[in-house]
Every structure is written in structure tokens, then in C-alpha cells.
Symmetry: C2
């Protein structure tokens, strides 16, 4: 933390960058970017206004601009690129690996993306557009088009010659295999580069390749890909389209990155950041609008839930102390239910539970819910008793929390399965549904029970 204190006294790096930007001297901006630690780049750039972020990309050469784009978060990069002249944007995008390029094109609005693609070479534009149309979480969206491929007739000598001639182009290729295409561009075989070391250079690839190689469909999901890499210790796997044509290579790292992004996104969605990633450098009104969309749904659900309380106004009027336990029952049931939601989402992800396993999930949750309900119910019951001196009040509060804990874990365990079966997003919708239902049942248990024994507890 010491470095921050030093920075606070001196010039902050983004203030320095801001000043250099004002001078409009490309080489000084480039020098600044070069001396900036890669891990610092996102922080420094995010401190600038979006106009200035675009100005940085505009003033430096394409290579530096591409480096910056790779180091800042994608959500930020796509916003900045949209502000550039399409030709400039196209030049920067061309420097990126094909999958990162496609991700950014998919994130930029339709219109902006078309203007940028119009500046690509026609063949490149078609390829980029095709890639960007794959969902981000299937093999087609995760694969790169940068890989080595040859035909069956070529020899080891041809491969070596190709490697020699294109050494620079292949510099950033990170596969250790070469793929062999057969008739109709179909994937026919695979070669490990290290095996080429052991062979004579006249050998034709068709003779020495591993035939019927493992491959995945361009529609393979993240789960399928992860299972594939769990089973096979490969660095990458070739991707084929419906016709069996080799269209790309998915690296294991891309699969893990995709899973990581999905987890992060699930986490954010469960916390109410639902309109896509939010960074604080985004405009206030955009952030506010997106957050409000979620909050408005929740406030409506809240009003529905508390309407239960309105039915019991007389009971509440007779025993004001109950008002204190309404938020406790609501919050504690939410806590218990969320634990069950988390375990269900995890088990769905791991593939050890499916929507059809509802009965098993419910039985497993009820057992835990009953034990925890008894403990929590006793705890809060004692609090109620001691606080208000009424054993009956304690019993009502304890019984309500016990009952609602069982309801909460049941609903929490099942909602993700039901949402999954309905092809809805468990991370997104489980929380609000859980809260609304358990609030209603909790208020009903507490106030309903209190009403039943009203004469016993209203004496206090």
C-alpha cells in the first residue's frame, strides 16, 4: 500500500498521461505506454474520460493501440473502439487474435461493426463476421483461426519450409499441432510437431498423420469442451463445422477463460448487475438506467410480498413487537434459501444434478433445512422470549422461522432446476423469486401463528 501513498503525493500516472496527451506528441504517449506496467494499464486508462481513452488509441501507432486494447477490460475496449474512425478501428482490430477480434465486433453495436468491417479486406471481413456470429460460449466463439494446416499430399519437408518462410507470422501461433486437410477441406488428420522431428523429410503427411483425430463441433458448449479437456490432456482441439470442415482450434485456456467469464457474470447477475458488465468509468446515466431496470422489478416484488402483512394489521397493532421480527424472518430465510440456490447452481454446473433430479434435491435440502430451522428457531425464540418476556411470543417467532427455513431451502434448492428446465438463467432470476416467495410465506407464518394465539401474546 506504500506505493499509493507515494503516488498520492506526487503525480498520478493518469494525470501524467493526460498532460502528455494534451501535447499531442505520439512518441511521448507511446513511451508512456511502454513504461506502464501491463498490470497497471487498465487502471490508468480507466481514469481518463472516454474521449481521452479514444484519443490515446488515435494518437499512437496501431501496434501500441492493439496492446492497450488487449490489456483493458473488453467492455471498456468495445466502448472506446466505437468512438474511433471506422478505418482506425479496423486497423487496430486486425492486429488482434481472431477470437478477441470477434468478441469485440460482437460487442460493438451492429451499425458500428458494419462500418468497421467495411474497412477490412473482403475475405477477412467475412471470416470475422462469421466468427462474431457464434455465441461466445460455444466452440465457434472460443476458437482461433490461427493454426497450422496442410494437405495430405504435402511432405514433412514442405512443413519445415513453410515454418521457415513464415516464422514471423507463426510467432504468436500457440498450438503444438499441425492439422491435415483431406477432400472438401475436411479434417483428415493431426500431426504433433515434435513427431516431425523423428521422421524423414520426404514422408508425406497423409502417411504419418494420426488419422480420425479427436475434434469437436463448432456448436460444442463450454461444458462439453471442459469434459473433453478433462478426458484428454491436449492443449487444443480442432473444431469442425457440420460438413466436417476444419474451421478453427479451441485451446484449453480459452475454455477455462470462457468458464471464468461466465462465473464472473453469474456472480454479478446474482448481485443485481444484469445489463452486462458495469465499470465506474461508464456514463452515470447508463449505469443508473441499467441498475434501475433490476431494482424496479425488485421493488414491485417487494410490494407484492409485504401485501401479506396488510392482511394482519390487527394482529400487528395488538403485538407491535412482531414488527421487529418481520425483517429478521425475511432476511434469515433469504440467507438459508441463498445457500441452497448456491449449491444447486454449483451442482448444475458440475453436471451432478439435472432438472429431473428435483425430488432428490428436495429431500437432501429438507434434511438440512429441518436441522438448521430448529437451531435458528430456538435461537430467535429465546431472543423473543427474553426480550419481550413472553414465552408464547418466543414460540411463535421460533416456529415461524423454523417453518420458513424449511420452505426457503426447499424453494432455494429447486428454483435453479426449474429455471434451467424453462431455459431461463438460474443466476439471474433465482434471487428475486426466492426472496419474494419466502418473504410472503415468512410473513404469513409469523403473523398467521400470532393471530392464532393472539390472546396469549397480546397481554404483554
Amino acid at each position: 500500500m506504500a506505493d499509493e501513498d507515494v503516488q498520492a503525493q506526487g503525480d498520478r500516472p493518469w494525470e501524467e498521461l493526460q498532460r502528455i496527451l494534451d501535447d499531442k506528441d505520439p512518441s511521448r504517449v507511446e513511451a508512456f505506454l511502454e513504461k506502464t506496467q501491463p498490470g497497471e494499464m487498465a487502471r490508468v486508462i480507466s481514469r481518463l474520460s472516454e474521449e481521452d481513452q479514444a484519443a490515446v488509441l488515435h494518437i499512437v501507432d496501431t501496434e501500441h493501440a492493439a496492446d492497450v486494447v488487449e490489456l483493458i477490460p473488453e467492455a471498456q475496449a468495445s466502448r472506446v473502439i466505437e468512438q474511433l474512425d471506422p478505418r482506425e478501428a479496423a486497423e487496430i482490430l486486425t492486429e488482434l487474435p481472431s477470437n478477441e477480434q470477434a468478441d469485440l465486433i460482437a460487442q460493438i453495436g451492429e451499425e458500428g461493426a458494419q462500418a468497421i468491417l467495411a474497412e477490412f479486406e473482403p475475405a477477412e471481413a467475412t471470416a470475422a463476421l462469421e466468427l462474431s456470429r457464434y455465441p461466445a460460449d460455444v466452440a465457434g466463439g472460443l476458437m482461433v483461426r490461427e493454426f497450422l494446416s496442410y494437405t495430405e499430399d504435402q511432405t514433412i519437408g514442405d512443413v519445415v519450409e513453410d515454418l521457415r518462410q513464415n516464422a514471423e507470422k507463426y510467432e504468436t501461433y500457440d498450438v503444438q499441432y499441425a492439422y491435415v486437410r483431406g477432400a472438401q477441406e475436411r479434417l483428415a488428420g493431426v500431426l504433433r510437431l515434435r513427431d516431425l522431428l523423428l521422421r524423414r523429410s520426404e514422408r508425406r503427411l497423409g502417411e504419418i498423420m494420426i488419422t480420425s483425430p479427436h475434434s469437436v463441433s463448432d456448436r460444442a458448449t463450454l461444458e462439453e469442451l471442459r469434459t473433453f479437456f478433462d478426458e484428454h490432456r491436449f492443449v487444443g482441439v480442432p473444431v469442425v463445422d457440420e460438413a466436417g470442415r476444419l474451421v478453427g482450434v479451441v485451446r484449453e485456456a480459452a475454455v477455462e477463460e470462457g468458464l471464468h467469464e461466465r462465473s464472473d457474470s453469474d456472480f454479478r447477475k446474482s448481485q443485481g448487475i444484469v445489463g452486462g458488465e458495469e465499470l465506474r468509468s461508464f456514463p452515470v446515466l447508463l449505469r443508473s438506467k441499467r441498475r434501475l431496470a433490476w431494482l424496479s422489478v425488485n421493488i414491485v416484488l417487494n410490494v407484492i410480498a409485504v401485501s401479506v402483512i396488510a392482511y394482519f394489521e390487527d394482529t400487528l397493532a395488538a403485538v407491535i413487537a412482531l414488527a421487529m421480527f418481520l425483517p429478521i424472518v425475511s432476511d434469515m430465510s433469504g440467507c438459508s434459501g441463498n445457500q441452497a440456490v448456491a449449491v444447486s447452481i454449483r451442482e448444475l454446473t458440475l453436471g451432478i444434478v439435472r432438472p429431473g433430479d428435483a425430488l432428490r434435491v428436495w429431500l437432501k435440502e429438507v434434511a438440512v433445512g429441518a436441522i438448521n430451522g430448529i437451531v435458528l428457531g430456538l435461537l430467535i425464540g429465546v431472543v423473543g422470549w427474553v426480550w419481550k418476556g413472553s414465552a408464547w411470543l418466543g414460540a411463535v417467532v421460533g416456529a415461524a422461522l423454523f417453518g420458513n427455513t424449511v420452505v426457503a431451502v426447499s424453494i432455494g434448492g429447486l428454483i435453479p432446476l426449474v429455471l434451467k428446465r424453462m431455459r431461463l438463467d438460474p443466476a439471474l432470476a433465482s434471487g428475486p423469486i426466492l426472496t419474494t416467495v419466502t418473504d410472503m410465506s415468512g410473513f404469513f407464518f409469523l403473523l398467521g401463528l400470532a393471530t392464532l394465539v393472539l390472546s396469549r401474546i397480546s397481554t404483554g
Copy 2:
């Protein structure tokens, strides 16, 4: 979903496995495992009791057992392995890649792990123990020990000969580099295998290697590793210890997997699954105990929070309708605050915010909180007004929600930074702290304001 319906009528795979297990015929269990889809394995195994899970590993040969261990979740695998005879457990662990082996050893209790390591070859045991002592989220915990390494004096011919002789052993090695060791086993250079294709076999590695290669410290964090791979398009990077000795290789995929696991774990922690991963196949009492540890903290915090309400019992007694708005203010503030928590945790992870940036975070949150507070306050104010026919009640409720939304986003935005500075886990503690503080301030705003204008609203 059709397949589940079919299964429901016929024999479920785990019931079949259960039956085969009873016959105690290894070859039939092995045949069953072979026909089971890799993506199904975790689900099928998790349906068995933990004793039967151990029985499966016990009855099949080591290779099949290792395959099962790799396909089921780590939390489950470590529990099952603990139940095996140490010699058997050691045999299975020896079949796993060094990093997976180390992860499992780290998860198994101290005593069990020592018994298992006693069955390893002494050198292997030392190596495995060293690896297992690295935290799981630094380079040492992520690296594998399976890599190619040679000395500077060796020639390309030696490498080719080594690859030929150890083809089987290297089968599952997934690096495309060979590392060259200099004096004192220090990392001296790196060779790309494809470059060997372009050279004559008499050349000494010391002459043709890339000197001063990139490497990372065995203490490098996930963030540092990710930044490294963002900057360099490598598949793997060599890891060196304090003395500069080559100790392993971290693959990019392992880094992404580590980040993914951490995100999943953060998600679970934020939902109250805090004692490590929970699967429903774990014993009920263990699940219950772990969940209760978290719930007990929350119930205490809840009681503290609602004690604010006790100070205003007279106001509540005068205006029972306020009781309905207590849970709404509590829940909506929680929602707004959680959004801010999520953005802060995300920005901390991306490295664009640090604990010292509290002022900036607060200013950015207050802007959004004020806008959203006005909108939500107006909404709930109108509800209060229409429902109870009292404009004053509406004003009190609306103003309380406005004020508390601003408080909630401020606290939600700052808590993760404060926890991070205190070296505590933001994902774990942000939620309960946020809820407690915003509940207290929300109840105080609502009931305090109502008390101030009590004569206006208690007429209803």
C-alpha cells in the same frame, strides 16, 4: 430432457452400477466406467454412498480409478481418497498430473496425507509435499512438474533421441517448449520445439536457445500470471524459485482454471456457502454445521439491526402501516448496495480500482445512488400515498428509501475496498456487513422521519 424420462422408467445408471458393485467383479465395473460418458461420471458417482464411491475406486485397476478421480469434483475426490487404504490411494495419486496430485494432497487432512505420502517413492513424496505446500493460487500451486528440460551442452540430436526413447512418457506432456538448465540448475534458456525442426542436429542447445527467457516466480499471483499471459501469447511459462532454479511450468489454462475456481468460490461465499465447497452427497450433519456457522453470524447481526426498531415502538404503534415498509426498505437497500459491492469486487479483480481509490469510488456511487434513490423513493412514496391515502406517509417512506439508497451504494461500494485493505475477503464479508449497516440506517431513517412528522401521519 427426453432421456431423463426414459431413464426414469428404466434402470438408472447408478442403480446399475450399484448392482454391479455388489457382484464384486472388477471387469464388469471397469466395463461400466468405460461405457459411461465422461460428462456423466460425476453425476453417476455422486449418487452412490461415500462407502460405495470408495468401493468403486477399490475394485477397479489403478488406471480406471485415476480416470474417475479426474472426472469427479475435487471436493468429492479428496473425501473418497481419504477412505481408501493409504497404499491404494498412493497408487491412484501417482497416476495424476503433478498439480492435480498436489491439490488433492492439500485437501486431504494432514494425517491422511502423510500416510499416503509414506507409500510414495521418497523423492516423489518430497516433490509432491513441496508442491502441495504452495497456496493453490500462486504459480507454485498451479505449475506442473512434467516438462522437457535439458542442459546447455546437449545437442539437438540428444533432444531428438530423448523424445524418441521417452515417447510414451512424454505422451501427455503438453508444452511446446523445452527448457535449458545452466549452472546450479538455473533456467538458462528456452527452445521452441518447432525451431528444432529448422536446425542441424549437431548444434548445441546453448548456442541456439533463446537466452534470458521469460519466467515467473513461484510466488507469482493469479493476477500477475494473467497479466503475463495477456501480454505474451505463450501457452506456458517456466517457474523459478528464489535461487532462479527451474521448478515447474505454468500453463495458461491452469491460470484461467484457477481464476475460474476463485470466481466460483467467491460466488458461493457471497451466497453463504463459506466452509469450502458443498455437494449434496456430503453427510447431512457436515452440510448443516457448515451452513449454520454462517447463519448464526447473520442472525446475531439481524438482531442487532432490528434493535433500532425497538427504539421507535411508540411511532410504530401509532402508524402500523410503517411495519409494512420496514422489510421493503431493508430489502431494497440490500439490492442497491449489493450492486455496488459487485462492481467494486469486479473492479478490484480487474485491477482498475485499489483500496486507496475510495474517494473516487464513493463519488461515482453517490451519483448513481442519488438518481436511483429519487426514482425508487418516488415509486414507493406513491405506493405509500395511494395505499394509505396519506401524502405525508408517502413522503416519509419515499425520503427514507432515497436516503438509504445513497447510504447503501456508498457502503456497498466502499466495503470491498476496506476489506481488501484489511486483507479480509470481500466476497465473504461484504454482504453481511452491508445488510446490517443499511438495515440499521434504513430503519432509523424511516422511523425517525415518521416520528418527526408523527402528528401528520398518525391521523389515518
